[in-house]
């Protein structure tokens, strides 16, 4: 037995790895027929069309319910359908949140071909946000929907906490794009907290994180959407200037505060009288000063990110491999990692790897500088926004934050008057 194997292994050494037909094709005398093996067919591409259709249909339905009917009931149904279809049935891939990465890779990468379905998943919610506000967030996005469905009570977080936390989505978005354009990793897909639920299994840490987020969303509205989701900043940019904006009521606001208390994402701003009386010219001067300071902030962060780019580049597989190779060269070990094994096994050349890594690190230097500048811009604008106080006479929706969930409609007494008049 052992001898046979040793003969075989010596054969292997002679013939080299990957050689085929060490044993000749058998001559069957019994009339043996080769079995016909059928492999499972790829998943039907039809589903991609169904996905797009569902996306458009659900978003239009939400837009109709929000703008025309002013009611929340259809949105609950949309949420249930979305969690069932996009979540559990389609397992959450492709989703609009992750499509940001494919799109940014397609914008810079010359070789990457963007699937049409991914492009549509990226652009349609943005288009709808520009037309009707964030109807995608309302219940079409399975992540928003699942949080909305478990939400029971709304404990309001203080404005300072939410302001600080609302920077996270931007930073997350910038990092996701940085890692996507350098072809390192799709971090949005990798650290997706809810995908484990939809697939009924996955990384324990992420499922735990998802469970904590869901638990938090029982007590406060949509923590993921507000403080993590990297697609939300893009949508809020467009919903800020939406053509048809959601209104709580067509009647006059009576400042009763009920909608404000009902809003899960704290998007309804109470009336506010600006106590600081500032001359208009003075205010303009102050703002101009901020905008002079802003570039400095951008440059500073750009430098920090550029400085950190070599460390950031370790997210790339090849860079890590190069580190390993160098370590191995400096201090040869008998037991080597799988990566090194296959690198040396395939006859990889260190000089070629080094060239590749140099290109990657150059890319990282360039893109992380841009990313740093963008981060500076975002944080700077956020600070400037905080310094602007605007007087409001009545409750107003902040359209950038509003997710069109429709909870405020039924709370507004003016709305119910309107309805009861109609009923009579």
């Amino acid at each position: 037995m052992k001898r046979l194997f040793s003969i075989l292994s010596s054969l292997l050494l002679m013939s080299g790895i990957g050689a085929q037909n060490r044993f000749p094709k058998p001559d069957f005398e019994s009339g043996y027929q080769y079995p016909d093996i059928q492999h499972a067919l790829p998943n039907e591409q039809l589903w991609l069309y169904v996905d797009i259709f569902m996306l458009v249909a659900l978003m239009s339905f939400v837009a109709w319910a929000i703008l025309k009917k002013r009611t929340r009931k259809p949105i609950i149904w949309v949420s249930v359908i979305s969690v069932a279809y996009f979540g559990f049935f389609r397992s959450g891939c492709v989703c609009s949140i992750g499509s940001v990465q494919n799109v940014s890779l397609a914008l810079v990468g010359h070789t990457y071909i963007l699937p049409v379905s991914v492009l549509l998943f990226f652009i349609l919610p943005i288009l709808f946000a520009f037309l009707f506000g964030r109807v995608f967030c309302a219940g079409v996005c399975p992540f928003g929907a699942i949080q909305e469905l478990v939400n029971i009570k709304n404990y309001r977080l203080s404005r300072s906490v939410t302001s600080v936390l609302s920077i996270i989505p931007w930073v997350y978005l910038i990092f996701a794009v940085l890692y996507a354009v350098t072809r390192s990793s799709f971090i949005i897909c990798r650290f997706d907290p809810f995908i484990g639920f939809f697939r009924l299994g996955g990384d324990f840490g992420l499922i735990l994180f998802g469970a904590l987020l869901l638990l938090a969303s029982v007590f406060t509205g949509r923590p993921f959407c507000r403080f993590i989701c990297p697609y939300a900043p893009l949508l809020s940019l467009f919903s800020r200037v939406a053509i048809w904006k959601v209104q709580i009521t067509k009647q006059k606001c009576i400042n009763c505060e009920l909608c404000h208390n009902a809003c899960p994402v704290d998007a309804i701003r109470p009336p506010y009288e600006n106590k600081v009386k500032e001359q208009r010219l003075q205010g303009v001067k102050r703002l101009l000063m901020y905008f002079v300071v802003l570039p400095f902030m951008m440059v500073a962060l750009a430098f920090i990110m550029r400085y950190a780019s070599d460390d950031l580049s370790r997210a790339h597989k090849e860079v890590r491999l190069y580190d390993m190779v160098q370590k191995q060269e400096a201090d040869p070990q008998d037991k080597i990692t799988l990566e090194l094994e296959s690198f040396f096994g395939q006859g990889g050349k260190i000089s070629e790897l080094k060239q590749k890594v140099n290109v990657i690190q150059q890319d990282y230097k360039r893109y992380s500088t841009i990313a740093g500048a963008l981060m500076g811009l975002v944080i700077g604008l956020m600070l400037i926004k905080l310094s602007i106080k605007r007087s409001r006479k009545e409750y107003e929706i902040e359209h950038a934050d509003c997710v069109d969930c429709g909870k405020c409609f039924s709370y507004c007494p003016q709305n119910s008057i309107c309805k009861s008049v109609l009923l009579k």
């Binding site: 037995m1 990957g18 058998p26 043996y32 891939c93 397609a106 071909i113």
Partner: protein, 190 residues
């Protein structure tokens, strides 16, 4: 008088102006991005299915552990036309077995997914029970090292979730997993 009127109206006018500017910029950017991106799309040639290239695969065993599914979508395929139908199969038996029988401790497959059927002396037919296979690649390693390489790993297309980024491809030491077009859904041998 006129000037005074203008001042009174100015905040509203300004806001209206800003709104129009914002809307134009937003609408324009959507059109621009959609336009640029539509030149980068392709339906036919776009690869959006993950598949293993058996020529590159080193059977490291990460396919079993790193798939997002609890039982990996990677399965062992068997090309009968490449197989030597050996009795002493490097993919079926472990190396250095004492007695050549089908007791579990002698078998390579940890889940007993390889079915062996006597054909005629001295040939045996091997088949993979894909429901049992966990994609560990132990048999593939045995077959590639000692046999004809008729066993190889492939991603079972109906199980694969078509993740945006394949978790196994991320850790594959030999970059064997790449996106392939739909009509090349499998890299079949034989």
């Amino acid at each position: 008088m006129n000037n005074d009127n203008n001042l009174k109206n100015s905040p509203l006018q300004r806001r209206k102006f800003l709104k129009v500017v914002g809307m134009t910029v937003a609408g324009g950017s959507i059109l621009a991005v959609a336009g640029v991106l539509s030149t980068k799309t392709g339906t036919k040639e776009a690869g959006h299915l993950w598949q293993i290239d058996p020529a590159k695969c080193t059977q490291c065993g990460r396919c079993e552990t790193d798939c997002v599914l609890s039982v990996s979508a990677v399965k062992c395929f068997h090309a009968n036309k490449v197989c030597g139908y050996c009795d002493l199969c490097g993919g079926y038996y472990r190396s250095n077995v004492k007695d050549l029988n089908t007791a579990a401790e002698n078998l390579m497959c940890p889940t007993g997914a390889i079915q062996r059927k006597f054909v005629e002396d001295p040939y045996f037919e091997y088949a993979i029970d894909e429901d049992l296979c966990n994609g560990c690649g132990k048999c593939v390693k045995g077959c590639t090292s000692f046999g004809n390489g008729s066993l190889y790993l492939q991603i079972q297309r109906d199980l694969c979730k078509d993740c945006n980024e394949c978790a196994i491809a991320k850790v594959c030491p030999s970059d064997a997993i790449t996106l392939v077009p739909l009509d090349q859904a499998y890299n079949l041998k034989g």
